[in-house]
Amino acid sequence: MSYRPDKDVIAVQRGPDAGGLGGVLRTFGETLRGLKTTFGRLVEGPVTIQYPEEKTPVYPRFRGRHKLHRFEDTELEKCVGCSLCVAACPADCIRVVAAENTPDHRVSAGERYAEVYEINMTRCIFCGYCEVACPFDAITLGHDYEMSDYNRSDLIFTKEMLLADPVERTPLRREGE
């Protein structure tokens, strides 16, 4: 292809001309303006949250660590071991083994109960489908997000862990915050 000066030359975008002494003055003024801007940040003070001491407040619909629930009056577990949450779980992280309730060993309100209820937290993606799938509102997602541990095996949460209240409460974000 041959060279066509009218088409092949691209106009280079250049900054405005500094413009002699006025330009020098303007640059000086702009420098002072920049200094003022950064000094403003100094006056404002830090906005950082000092994490381990101060926790980021979460929204009410935040999906954190799961909780299993009991009936408040009878202390019976709401979970009847139907395994619908297992079917709904896209990460395949829930394991339920159901067992029959007997008159002298009654655990849940229904016919059966979950003998084993495990959530593998290394796999869980906190999508909340289990909460949606549950016909008895037995499982909900709480507000806690501090679940790191040193062992993978410690991250498989058992039924007892999920039924117990979390040790520390995560602060909830106030209205309009």
């Binding site: 020098v24 420098t31 920049g34 200094l35 801007t37 950064t38 000094f39 940040r41 100094l42 404002e44 003070g45 830090p46 906005v47 950082t48 000092q50």
Partner: protein, 336 residues
């Protein structure tokens, strides 16, 4: 033997040794504090806290940093030249410490049975001594960059060489106005000449030029092209680890202290301040600190210059301006 300024007394060798130790101790204690101050202030300028985890308010952070650097392995790249790589940081530290000697922290005092000056040495070539050692730092940079046997390091070293040469001229020219007004090269005499009015008032243009050239000389933002982390990894000190890197780093802060000291002595009346003469060193340190804080403030504000901008600014604007300032001062000094 350096040519000493006209002094009417002779200091004993003992006093010289004590002075050297004091300067050494002062610099080595102040540099880590400066490091913390810079990180803290930079944090505040960016709406965050800066280091606050090690010790109360993060005060032990520099100690942790130095301990980490000391415990690291001394590493040489296969293409590097080990002897010269070891030498480069030494040159940097030595030259930076040596230029510290002319910063005056007070006038001549009497005590302990003899007279002594509150400065390392009062040479009659004064400020030229600082420039001489300032230029020697460039050997440290260049050697460090070249001996690492790495392209980025060498590029960084070349950049710093070009930058130092370009800005040293303006730096020197900006100070000559002050020298002409004081009629002496000795920093002690220059401070004494500022008894009435600080030189920052009649030499304001000179002060601006000095500040800008001072940023370039100390390789600080917005002239931190030699180590431009974004483009050159870390410039001339890319291949240095452990305390060798630490030495480069310290030398940089020492150079900043020296520039702050020269600025305080030549433009802000040095140790002059209200109160008895015992407070003189305090005033000097406070003025140096103010200059250092301004350095940090600028670092938090300015983006880095492009290389061609750096060069054209240095040669086309700063140098003519410095020359003009010099000329006007010369005429005024001759007339008044």
């Amino acid at each position: 033997m350096l040519p000493l300024a006209d002094t009417q007394f002779v200091e004993t060798t003992g006093v010289w040794i004590i002075k050297s130790l004091v300067i050494f101790a002062f610099v080595l204690t102040v540099v880590p504090m400066l490091l913390l101050l810079e990180r803290k202030l930079l944090g505040r300028f960016q709406n965050r806290y800066g280091p606050n985890r090690v010790g109360p308010y993060g005060l032990l952070q520099p100690l942790a940093d130095v301990l980490k650097l000391i415990s690291k392995e001394q590493f040489y790249p296969a293409t590097g030249v080990p002897g010269l790589m070891a030498l480069a940081p030494v040159i940097m530290i030595v030259t930076a410490l040596a230029s510290m000697a002319i910063i005056p922290f007070g006038n001549v005092e009497e005590g302990f049975g003899s007279k002594f000056g509150l400065y390392g040495i009062d040479v009659n070539i004064g400020i030229l001594y600082a420039f001489a050692f300032g230029s020697l730092t460039f050997y440290g940079l260049m050697l460090g960059g070249w001996a690492s046997g790495s392209r980025y390091s060498f590029l960084g070293a070349m950049r710093s060489a070009a930058q130092l040469i370009s800005y040293e001229v303006s730096l020197a020219l900006s100070l000559i106005g002050v020298v002409m007004m004081a009629g002496s090269l000795s920093l002690v005499d220059i401070v004494n000449a500022q008894d009435g009015v600080w030189f920052v008032v009649p030499q304001f243009v000179g002060f601006l030029i000095f500040t800008v050239a001072g940023f370039a000389e100390t390789n600080r933002a917005p002239f931190d092209l030699p180590e431009a982390d974004a483009e050159l990894v870390a410039g001339y000190n890319t291949e240095f680890g452990g305390m060798r890197f630490g030495s480069f780093f310290m030398a940089e802060y020492m150079a900043m202290l020296v520039i702050a000291g020269i600025a305080a002595a030549m433009f802000f009346g040095g140790w002059m301040g209200p109160g008895p003469s015992a407070l003189d060193p305090l005033w000097m340190v406070l003025k140096m600190l103010a200059v250092v804080v301004f350095f940090i403030w600028i670092r938090a504000t300015m983006p880095r210059l492009r290389y061609d901008q750096l060069m054209s600014f240095g040669w086309k604007i700063l140098l003519p301006l410095a020359t003009l300032n010099l000329l006007v001062t010369a005429v005024l000094v001759a007339l008044v």
